[in-house]
């Protein structure tokens, strides 16, 4: 019998040598006249163990990692194809604590299936959500998503079902579903993992959105920094069309739905939904004032559902298992699971999908195991470049939209970047302003000019020029940006800046009196 070995091919694994391992494995197998079928999968998201390969044995899969090409011969000698003992043997992947503690709904198949095999997708529970949705009236599909409590996973946290209902109720001959795959936040990679590891779940989620809202055309706007996601998604769309899951009369129903890819061009602000719509229309990615909402007046002026990859990829589970199943996970008004991404200076970095409610401390200390450098964790930034820096004293904050908001932070797209005690928080605050200045679309003054002035003022503070006066000035500027900007870029840049000043005043040379006053 031909042995089957699974090796990831997502860009995270490729970045640490997965291709080289696959080549070494194939060549070692040839040399020994041992037939081996190498299946390239997505990543399980245990990146400190990548390249991690898995061998199919009669007792299930056995994982080995992190494997370097030079380890391959020794692994063969140890009988890897039968799951033999070796220093790199990790055992059944599902039993690795990092994976065992997770609740994988959105990422149920990622790292397990061949991302481009329609039949593999079906064999692992795929298409069941769409098939169940087809037996519903569109309004009932919308109701199911409303009842699930699903909220926008891109960071907005707006109830997905309510958005769908608005588009459903809008009168128009043409409506669109737009998937926001412009995952620009540093520390996030969940959208990339889905697109590279289980692209059909996104196709299925978008098709369900199409059925529910009456949209016949979908677009996925993928950032250009993700060429592997673009290639996998394009191939998946082709395969889905061939098998009748996209195109005219999908899955033998009376509904049409097709998907087209659009590629971004390096502008962070295009992750903001109205800027993205402008970009897709072939214009500068300048933010639109709201209202009108995209649900009424979106892409090319038509009613448009704009959802993040993770929101859409959560929908098939909600439809196949029912709203109640999904809603039963989570806490408060944050229902279901959140794919959290552990990144930066991290010992065990990767994708951790879990029900809302886990505390920041559990995530950082317990699950991620602290820093890669072995030094103490000093700060973590949650939610990307627009998210707040949290000190250890706030590690009891549960992962929940409202709990983070109550502590002047946000969960955003679920990225957590860990910093050790060598970090200079004044430098991080400066970077937040600098990033905003570079990426500002230029439409509103608080963001366009405020960010540039912010860099200058923080530079003065760092040089020790009139510290207290300039700290007061930064706070005033942040208030203007927060309340006067048109979108989250200018509006949220104050979160990293003010959290750095508030929680780490010693890095800004602030006197204890000022720190206490804040």
């Amino acid at each position: 019998m031909t042995a089957r070995v699974f090796i990831p091919r997502d860009s995270g694994s490729l970045a640490v040598g997965a291709d080289e391992v696959a080549v070494a494995l194939a060549s070692a197998a040839r040399k020994r006249n041992t037939p081996v079928e190498i299946v390239r999968t997505g990543s399980r998201g245990l990146y400190w163990l990548e390249p991690m390969l898995e061998v199919a044995t009669p007792k299930g899969r056995i994982a080995y990692g992190p494997v370097a090409p030079r380890d391959v011969e020794a692994l063969f000698d140890a009988g890897i194809l039968g799951g033999g003992a070796h220093a790199l043997r990790l055992g059944p992947p599902e039993e690795i604590p990092f994976l065992k503690r997770q609740t994988r709904l959105t990422f149920a198949r990622c790292g397990i299936v061949d991302p481009l095999s329609v039949s593999d997708y079906r064999a692992h529970g795929g298409w069941r959500g769409l098939e169940r949705a087809m037996r519903f009236e569109p309004a009932a599909i919308v109701e199911e998503v409303v009842q699930s409590g699903l909220r926008g996973r891109g960071g907005g946290g707006f109830p997905t079902g309510i958005k769908w209902r608005t588009v459903r109720d809008a009168e128009s001959a043409q409506k669109y579903v737009v998937c926001n795959a412009d995952e620009g936040d540093s520390g996030t990679f969940a959208d990339r993992m889905i697109m590279e590891g289980d692209p059909f779940v996104l196709v299925e989620g978008m098709a369900i959105a199409g059925l529910a809202t009456g949209a016949t055309k979908g677009f996925i706007y993928i950032r250009s920094e993700y060429p592997h996601a673009v290639a996998t998604m394009a191939a998946a769309i082709e395969a889905a069309r061939r098998e009748g899951w996209l195109g005219k009369r999908i899955a033998d129903s009376s509904c049409d739905f097709d998907i087209e890819l659009r590629i971004g061009a390096g502008a962070y602000v295009c992750g903001e939904e109205t800027s993205m719509l402008e970009s897709m229309e072939g214009k500068r990615g300048v933010v639109r004032a709201k209202p009108p909402l995209p649900a009424h007046h979106g892409l090319f002026g038509k009613p448009t559902v704009v959802n993040n990859v993770l929101s859409l990829a959560s929908v098939p589970t909600i439809l196949s298992e029912g709203a109640k199943f999904y809603r039963d996970f989570g806490m408060g008004r944050s229902r279901g699971t959140m794919p959290i991404q552990l990144a930066g200076n991290v010992k065990r970095g990767g994708l951790f999908e879990t029900a809302f409610g886990v505390t920041l401390g559990e995530l950082v200390d317990d699950i991620a195991g602290g820093t890669a450098s072995g030094r103490p964790v000093r700060a973590v930034q949650v939610g990307g470049p627009l998210g707040a820096y949290f000190p250890r004293t706030l590690f009891d904050t549960p992962f929940d939209y409202e709990a983070f908001a109550a502590r002047d932070g946000l969960i955003g797209h679920g990225g957590i970047v860990i910093f050790d005690d060598t970090v200079d928080m004044a430098r991080q605050a400066r970077f937040a302003m600098e990033f905003c200045a570079v990426e500002s679309c230029g439409k509103c003054t608080p963001c366009r000019i405020g960010a540039t002035r912010g860099v200058e003022v923080i530079d003065r503070i760092r040089r020790g020029v009139e510290r207290e006066a300039n700290l007061a000035l930064v706070e005033d500027l942040c208030n203007t940006m927060k309340f006067g900007s048109l979108c989250a870029l200018g509006g949220f840049t104050p979160y990293p800046v003010m959290s750095a000043i508030r929680h780490f005043p010693e890095d800004f040379g602030a006197s204890p009196r000022l720190a206490a006053a804040e």
Binding site: D185, T188, E225, G282, N345, P385, Q428
Partner: protein
């Protein structure tokens, strides 16, 4: 990357001009072919899409991706965002710039390599990260970085 060719550029423009919101697909097509967006191309796209040259200039210059001059034989994109900063990305960036004697978005005199900043490649659990000619590279340290640079500029 092919040298600038007006006829080929026209073909690329025609292939995409009827797409809804054709500007970005055209620009990506031209940059994939020629490595940059020439001034002549800007005029041609503006004509094809019935936009003014000023409007087209505005679109091209809004997006960080579109180069206005040909790149070197290799393009090294180095991540400068927070997750890579947390793993010493700034020090690596300083080293690259020193070794290549380049500022951001500049090309070496021998045309071997162009150094570009990038804000996140989604490789944040394998930081610091870079992308060399479209190939992702993670867990960069001095040694791996030097090997990478030796490969592009012997």
């Amino acid at each position: 990357m092919k040298p600038w060719n007006k006829e080929r550029a026209e073909e690329i423009i025609q292939a995409h001009r009827n797409a809804e919101g054709a500007a970005l697909p055209i620009l990506h097509g031209l940059q994939a072919e020629f490595g940059f967006i020439s001034e002549e191309a800007v005029v041609m796209i503006a004509d094809a899409l019935n936009l003014t040259r000023a409007e087209m200039h505005g679109i091209v210059t809004f997006y960080h991706d579109f180069r206005r001059a040909p790149p070197g034989r290799h393009v090294l994109k180095l991540c400068r965002a927070e997750a890579c900063q947390a793993m010493g990305g700034d020090a690596l960036a300083a080293r690259v710039r020193e070794r290549l004697r380049l500022g951001w978005s500049e090309t070496t005199d021998d045309r071997s390599v162009t150094l570009e900043p990038v804000y996140c490649l989604g490789l944040c659990a394998c930081a610091p990260a870079a992308m060399l000619d479209g190939r992702p590279v993670g867990r960069l340290d001095r040694e791996r970085l030097d090997a990478l640079l030796d490969g592009v500029q012997p």
